[in-house]
């Protein structure tokens, strides 16, 4: 069942408290981030309905918002999501080659997840790291100045962490 821990519920209350009285809908974006982190990296209908109850919203208000913003995953994703920027400045520095390399290396296409559920490849639009291109987002952080060697290292690193945590 989808249910925040007491500690996370306290966090939700703290977030709601940042906004004026009665404007708890304002907490929707941060609380959805929190829910996505807590409940498997994506937002199921159950999760969204739970958030709606927490913030006293109609479920449709949550669906409308969750589908608008590109960072909310509405389907399950791999444990490590490679979000490679492909907009102009990154393209000038070879992001297309990096995307091709990752595809070949992982044997998946854009939007796909490896059969072991470890990696998802996604292409995204400008992430604001144009000077450090090509780059990708991996979880909370940016990986910049990508080269095939660096991609290899990152994949290795992810596999190692995954193995260590299993």
């Amino acid at each position: 069942m989808v249910q925040f821990s007491d500690e996370k519920l306290k966090k939700v209350n703290e977030i709601v408290g940042r906004y004026p009285e009665g404007k708890q809908k304002s907490a929707l974006l941060p609380v959805l981030h929190l829910a996505q982190e807590e409940f498997g990296g994506w937002l199921s209908v159950e999760t969204m309905d739970y958030v709606a109850t927490l913030l006293k919203l109609e479920p449709i208000e949550v669906y409308e918002v969750a589908t608008f913003y590109s960072m909310y995953n509405l389907k399950p994703v791999g444990r490590y999501m490679f979000e490679v920027c492909q907009t102009g400045p990154c393209m000038l520095r070879g992001s297309d080659d990096i995307i091709d390399y990752i595809k070949k290396k992982l044997g998946i296409g854009v939007g796909e997840t490896t059969p072991d559920g470890l990696f998802t490849l996604k292409t995204v639009e400008c992430l604001g790291a144009c000077g450090y291109a090509p780059m990708m987002q991996l979880g909370k952080h940016f990986r910049e100045h990508l080269t095939p060697e660096k991609v290899d290292q990152i994949i290795e690193e992810c596999r190692r962490t995954a193995a260590a945590n299993n």
């Binding site: 974006l29 941060p30 981030h33 590109s70 639009e125 604001g128 144009c130 987002q137």
Partner: protein, 452 residues
């Protein structure tokens, strides 16, 4: 060396923490403003400085502040726009990541001037690690008595909250940002009413860019008049430029707007020249929305004068022969780059980021992307180029928010200056798949495209 006002202390070890920041003179502006000045005096100082919004539009900040409605008994809000998403722009990230206290300091002074007791930093969701840095800085400032109730014993209360977006370029538009802050879809609002009258939660609100609010700190420290002396004409003070693309030293640079574009690209202090010994083909000097310029028009204005890195000079010649300062996202293309492909990536970007409210933008951005894709892959027709021109013309100016314009301008400028390259793609459908058009005449006369 140009005078640095924002990044002067960026390389001091530990400047991210309160202790070092304070030791280096941090929070002096808060003491000065809250203890010795009225809110109106602070606003006047900002007016005198001539500071213009650093987010892209370049609107005078002091004037924006003076528009804020102040009805009795209604809270007012300051919202810091940290939704930096314009391709080519990454200066605010640098400020927040390395000098968080500079932003917090600027926010406190600005909140005091505007009477905002709850101030929000709306940061783009992808900068996921930066809220931690900012919240740390806020906690430190609060512990030191610069935030919270009765700051410095002056009776002024202020809290700063970080609100993280979730992936939508459109939320950089101030009314979409406010919608998003209210937990809704980022659909821009129809203006009027302007945020200064009805903004966040229907209360009077000022939305300013990160760099703009950080610049309030040096303005308070050195005085508005002194700040206005730096730079030239209406381009006062310093500006952060985030340089990227095919240059030797991509990064964030602070300039005082008196240097030339040529110096900025080729001097070792800044971009360090074109990477790999290539030649300059074109440049988008102010973030992806502003018109692209071929090398010859970039370095010299149509009057044959040196083009300078400031608001007036960059827009000299208007849209047909000039560009804009915009957000300071400086994207450089070398001779090996394909303008059609580059324009396609921008068209794809704007299609992806259109909120979908207005029909011309919702439908037109996708249409342009599809046509550009055809041309780029050798499936285009000559008539497609005119069609593209017509589509962008029908989007521009006909939408609620400036995203429509932002999507139209790059396509318009690319066709205006690089039409021959588009036609070459159409005429050489096989060849365009294996090689690029090259430099052509864009850098004619070539001498101005090479370092002096």
């Amino acid at each position: 060396m140009a005078r640095k006002l924002l990044l002067e202390k960026a390389n001091v070890p530990g400047i991210r923490g309160y202790e070092v920041y304070r030791r280096e003179g941090g929070y002096a502006s808060v003491e000065k403003a809250l203890k010795n000045m009225t809110p109106d005096q602070v606003t006047d100082e900002v007016k005198k400085s001539g500071l213009r919004g650093r987010g892209g539009a370049g609107f005078p900040t002091g004037m924006k502040w003076s528009f804020l409605a102040k009805p009795e008994g209604v809270p007012r809000y300051l919202v810091c726009n940290a939704d930096e998403s314009e391709p080519g722009t990454f200066k605010d990230r640098y400020l927040m990541e390395f000098l968080p206290h500079l932003l917090i300091e600027g926010l406190i002074v600005s909140s005091y001037a505007l009477g905002s007791k709850a101030t929000y930093i709306y940061i783009r969701g992808e900068y996921a690690w930066i809220p931690d840095i900012l919240e740390q800085a806020i906690a430190e400032a609060r512990a030191a008595g610069f935030l919270g109730k009765n700051i410095l014993g002056t009776g002024f209360d202020c809290e700063i909250y970080v609100h993280r977006g979730a992936g939508a370029y459109i939320c950089g538009e101030e009314t979409a940002l406010l919608e998003s802050l209210e937990g809704k879809r980022g659909n821009p609002r129809i203006k009027p009413p302007f945020p200064a009258v009805r903004g966040a939660w229907d209360c009077p609100t000022v939305v300013n860019n990160v760099e703009t609010l950080a610049a309030v700190v040096p303005i308070m420290n050195i005085g508005g008049e002194e700040y206005a002396k730096i730079g030239v004409g209406k381009s006062t003070g310093t500006k952060l430029i985030s340089a990227c693309g095919n240059i030797n030293k991509p990064g964030v640079y602070e300039i005082d707007m008196t240097i030339s574009v040529e110096e900025f690209i080729y001097s070792d202090e800044y971009c360090g020249g074109i990477a790999n010994g290539k030649r300059l083909k074109a440049c988008i000097p102010g973030g992806s929305s502003v018109p692209i310029l071929p090398a010859n028009l970039l370095l010299k204005t149509v009057k044959g004068e040196k083009r300078m890195m400031n608001y007036e000079s960059l827009s000299d010649g208007g849209f047909p022969k000039g560009s804009m300062m915009g957000s300071g996202g400086f994207i450089v293309l070398d001779e090996d780059q394909c303008v059609v492909k580059h324009t396609l990536t921008l068209a794809r970007f704007y299609r992806h980021e259109s909120c979908g409210q207005c029909s011309p933008c919702r439908e037109g951005t996708g249409w342009m992307e599809k046509i550009l894709k055809n041309i780029d892959t050798g499936k285009g027709k000559k008539s497609d180029i005119d069609l593209l021109w017509d589509i962008q013309r029908k989007i521009e100016g006909n939408t609620i928010c400036p995203l429509g314009d932002a999507a139209a301008w790059p396509v318009a400028a690319a066709i205006r200056h690089f039409r021959d390259e588009f036609e070459w793609h159409v005429d050489n459908p096989q060849e365009c798949l294996v090689r690029n058009y090259g430099l052509a005449h864009y850098a004619d006369p070539l001498e101005i495209a090479t370092p002096a």
